[in-house]
């Protein structure tokens, strides 16, 4: 167990370091003088001087990276020039909102995608299979920001059932919070549901063809028992692993969804920062996203490990 984890972490750490280098290097893409560009809308010489100092812009690039990375490790993601706040505080403030949205979306994706995948695998080649595949293709092809707009058009503008925007923290009113979050979560979960359906279907098809499923049937296990006791457990391994990879997709999608429904999360923070030329905040959001993603994959590996007895014992 420990050596397995150690190996995974040994891969995750250099990945994270390289990712941080890439994110740091983004600064170099800025046209003209970095300090002036970083200052964004402000053209105040004092601010520019502060930035030059803060990012050690007079030092060579590798040194700057190391100083920056050291700061990041200590939780210093830089200053938002625009909002006059440390980026880490902004992220800490917005992250829970996005996480709630992402988790709701993942639940929706699993609740829709996994049963649909199971049914279409078990009923392979039937109408149910074709319908499920059609829905999945629809889910993959529909741009989620457009789906969001259409849902606002229908549920908010036309029916008037749900608010088009207006986030309410769950601490204030859980009902209002869910009312505001259900549409964004559905929009976000929609595409992932399609992917989960495809993964589940593929995994189930493979398991259904396996010899041990035939053994189970030869024992007299009922069809439902075969699916629940014998198939799902084995199909869960690829579903979990691939599902974790979809979390990146979820974070990408959150940027747009939050924009459409004005949910004050991570993605909105990033887009607003992009327009305010608040580059430190953009970098901060990206590095947090990458870290979250890598950690989630590490967790998926652990989960994979836990449901796979072959790895657990040896």
């Amino acid at each position: 167990m420990l050596s397995f984890l150690a190996r995974r972490i040994a891969i995750a750490v250099p990945t994270l370091v390289l990712a941080s280098m890439i994110i740091f290097a983004l600064q170099q893409l800025l046209p003209g003088d970095t300090a002036t560009a970083l200052s964004g809308e402000e053209r105040d010489p004092e601010v520019i001087a502060f930035i030059r100092e803060k990012y050690h812009l007079d030092r060579p690039l590798p040194v700057r990276y190391l100083l920056w990375a050291k700061g990041v490790l200590q939780g210093d993601l830089g200053e938002s020039i625009r909002l006059q706040k440390p980026v880490i505080d902004l992220v800490a403030e917005k992250l829970p909102v996005t996480l709630q949205l992402a988790c709701l979306a993942m639940v929706i994706a699993l609740v829709i995608g996994v049963p649909m995948g199971i049914v279409s695998a078990v009923r392979q080649g039937t109408t149910a299979d074709y319908v499920a595949n059609g829905i999945a293709l629809w889910g993959l092809s529909i741009p989620n920001f457009w789906l969001g707009i259409m849902m606002i058009l229908f549920f908010s503008v036309y029916l008037g059932w749900l608010p088009a925007s207006g986030y309410v923290p769950p601490s204030e009113s859980l009902i209002d919070n869910l009312k505001a979050m259900i549409m964004p979560a559905f929009v976000l979960g929609n595409a992932i549901a399609a992917v989960m359906m495809r993964h589940t279907r593929a995994a189930m098809l493979q398991v259904l063809q396996s010899d041990y499923v035939r053994t189970a049937r030869a024992k007299g296990v009922s069809p439902l028992g075969v699916i629940l006791r014998h198939c799902l457990r084995n199909a869960a391994v690829p579903i979990i692993t691939l599902g974790a990879l979809e979390f990146g997709q979820l974070l990408s999608g959150a940027v747009l969804t939050e924009q459409i429904f004005s949910v004050p999360g991570f993605g909105k923070l990033m887009v607003d920062a992009v327009f305010n030329r608040d580059y430190a905040t953009v970098q901060g959001v990206v590095i947090c996203t990458a870290t979250t993603y890598i950690v989630l994959n590490l967790m998926a590996d652990v989960a994979y490990f836990l449901v796979n007895p072959k790895l657990r014992r040896s």
Partner: protein
């Protein structure tokens, strides 16, 4: 070996199975009929694609439908037609009255379930055993199939067992409910020769203890010699020859059986041993277009023109032991006698 009983346990009548594929309909089993007595051990021999495995899977509803389809026939087991049984009743037969052992012990056990859980499953379904009682019985079964230190191995996973041991576990599962019939489908093919012999010895012992009938499916005539009372040779979805094991080996009447015997290196059958060891020339027919005549005719040097036109019925071989049936228009012993130079 226990003497075969006298009552019919299983009667297969004109069973035909087909598979619908993109390339056309594959006629895998084409009118197979035979009977199995209580306590009898029947060895079914044939190459892959002969329909030997498909027909037993089909009779228990274990082929995927679609693409599989039972075209016609009846399978009467203890007075009931299995093919006409509703799903639920058929499930009671599977694993309860008929136990099944498959070829590959590596993949036939569920990798994510403990051995105990997999042995307990049929006990729960068919005997209603649960909890400590089921566990006790599972342990007894592991003892019965000679797995040392059974108690501590119950909670292990299949990958912690060797190939031979896994096949023992499979056998434990198959006999868990003391079935009337055990079907072993290439049960020793994937195993080393020494382990093969151990497994066969174990099954013989279990048969004595439980008194079940056995259908032993294999492509290896040598294995059949060690276990079967009766041998049945299948080719292209049909039975070409069937008879008591000794007669089949000493007095084969089908050219295909002869070919199989000739491809065996060391067998204590003097008559055919003198002949040169040789493979059977040619390939089996395309099962999308099953031949009208004897399916083996194109590969048979003794084939007569009639063999290509009309399928021979399975009937008593003239001059052979009673119950020795063959489907052939040609006269194999006569042909062989003519070929052999008189001393």
């Amino acid at each position: 070996m226990s003497a075969p009983g006298t009552t019919k346990l299983l009667e297969v009548r004109d069973l035909a199975v087909a598979f619908e594929t993109r390339g056309g309909m594959i006629h895998a089993v084409n009118g197979v009929s035979y009977a199995l007595e209580t306590g009898e051990t029947l060895g079914i021999v044939g190459e892959s694609g002969s329909g030997k495995s498909v027909h037993v899977l089909a009779m228990l509803g274990l082929i995927p439908k679609p693409p599989g389809r039972i075209a016609r026939g009846e399978v009467v087991f203890q007075g009931r037609d299995l093919l006409a049984l509703p799903d639920k009743a058929l499930r009671k037969v599977r694993g309860g009255e008929i136990g099944f052992v498959f070829q590959d012990p590596m993949s036939s056990l569920n990798p994510a379930m403990t051995v105990a859980a997999q042995i307990v499953e049929p006990l729960r379904i068919h005997l209603g055993l649960a909890g400590a009682a089921a566990r006790r019985r599972a342990r007894e079964l592991l003892d019965l199939v000679r797995i040392p230190d059974a108690g501590s191995r119950l909670d292990q996973y299949p990958h912690e067992f060797s190939g031979g041991q896994r096949q023992r576990v499979m056998i434990a599962i198959a006999i868990a409910c003391k079935p009337k019939l055990l079907i072993a489908d290439e049960a020793t093919t994937a195993l080393d020769v020494t382990i093969q012999a151990e497994i066969i010895a174990l099954v013989r012992e279990l048969k004595r203890e439980i008194g079940m009938a056995i259908i032993w499916i294999t492509h290896d005539l040598g294995v059949v010699a060690g276990i079967a009372d009766t041998v049945q040779v299948m080719y292209a979805g049909r039975i070409l020859e069937r008879g008591p094991v000794d007669d089949i080996f000493s007095d084969p009447r089908s050219a295909y059986t002869l070919g199989l015997l000739r491809s065996l290196p060391d067998l204590g059958v003097r008559d055919v041993r003198r002949l040169r060891l040789q493979p059977i020339e040619g390939t089996p027919p395309d099962m999308r277009l099953p031949p009208a005549g004897d399916p083996f005719a194109p590969r048979n040097r003794y084939a007569t023109p009639r063999c290509f036109l009309e399928a021979p019925p399975l009937s008593q071989a003239p001059g052979a032991a009673p119950g020795h049936l063959v489907a052939a228009w040609y006269d194999l012993p006569g042909q062989l006698a003519r070929e052999r130079p008189t001393p």
